[in-house]
Symmetry: C2
DNA sequence: AAAAGATAATTGACACTTCAAGTATCCAGA
DNA sequence: TCTGGATACTTGAAGTGTCAATTATCTTTT
């Protein structure tokens, strides 16, 4: 903080709006860079693990993870929402998983426009194996942080998320 | 924390390793999800802004940002390192920027394998305009967080980054 | 019930990304 | 000097992502 520079008891001269704003600029930028770097590093680690251990990718894993929590299956549009990607994208990833027999499209009898996508038995088994390791990777990566710090980090990110969503939707 | 469940003074029965581990699992996973969501939301906002205001993309902006700090130009391999992407990727993005006259490849007289990539005058002007707005977006997104919280978040992310790097390189 | 409008999913064009393979150039040693 | 190995960059294939346009199916309105 700007305060450090005035450790001597000089009257609190406006170390001034300008300087503070300037510092804030750089602080926010640095913070963003650091946030981005952290996330990217972790994501790269997970991608590499998924690739080397299971020959699969993050989007595929992500799609299967969504289905695992929905035994009745999910519509393409629901997958799209939950994965936060566009519909066209879901089509492609689903195609790949279906070709490998990990997932099936079942036509919805009530509405012939929709597909219900489900994990196959094989897909379910494979996901279980992957999920177990995936969880271990995450714990290894975040573990050294300590309970208290994790809670703190979670709270700060929660606030950030709120602000970002307000800014984007409001 | 598991402690909350034992507010009553029951002897500190091992609220137990298993429960605690279980909680930690979920805590780490939740934390990772939240970190990912935050970063993605911000990144999406920036991408949209770059697209709507300047008709450009984050990789292009990123590449120009690297060059802006290196008036002597950068080698393709240096760009690759700094942007943390593979060389093949830099080729493509550079091609696009060069076609638009924002960047030039100059052959290095000392080593004919090397290109020095530089911002053109036009590229420099355009980058200045983009950088100013970009900084404002970031400040708007992180601003509501408060000086102290930003510092705290920065520190926590710093630790996380350290651990992740150790895990990945060590 | 026919037309109009909304919704579900796919397609195709383009951008970004990785990886592996290829080309050109440099450098070091016989 | 020339040969072998490293280095710099490009290329091409495949996956992921967006967007806009299309097709198929519902739903609503008249």
């Amino acid at each position: 903080m700007a305060k450090e520079k005035t450790a001597l008891k000089i009257a609190d001269t406006p170390v001034d709006a300008e300087t503070r704003v300037h510092d804030d600029h750089h602080q926010s930028l640095r913070l963003w860079l650091r946030l981005l770097t952290c996330t990217n590093q972790i994501e790269i680690a997970i991608r590499q693990n998924l690739q080397s251990r299971f020959g699969t990718t993050l989007p595929r894993f992500d799609l299967m993870a969504q289905l695992e929590r929905a035994p009745e299956g999910l519509k393409m549009s629901e997958l799209s929402q939950r994965m936060m990607v566009t519909g066209g994208n879901v089509t492609g990833v689903t195609d790949g998983l279906e070709k490998d027999g990990l997932v099936v499209r079942e036509v919805d009898s009530a509405d012939r426009r929709v597909f219900r996508v489900k994990l196959t038995a094989e897909g379910g088994r494979q996901f279980q194996r992957m999920a177990a390791e995936h969880e271990r990777w995450i714990i290894d990566l975040f573990g050294p942080l300590g309970m208290k710090q994790k809670r703190q980090l979670g709270e700060l990110l929660g606030e950030l998320k709120t602000h970002v969503n307000q800014r984007r939707n409001g």
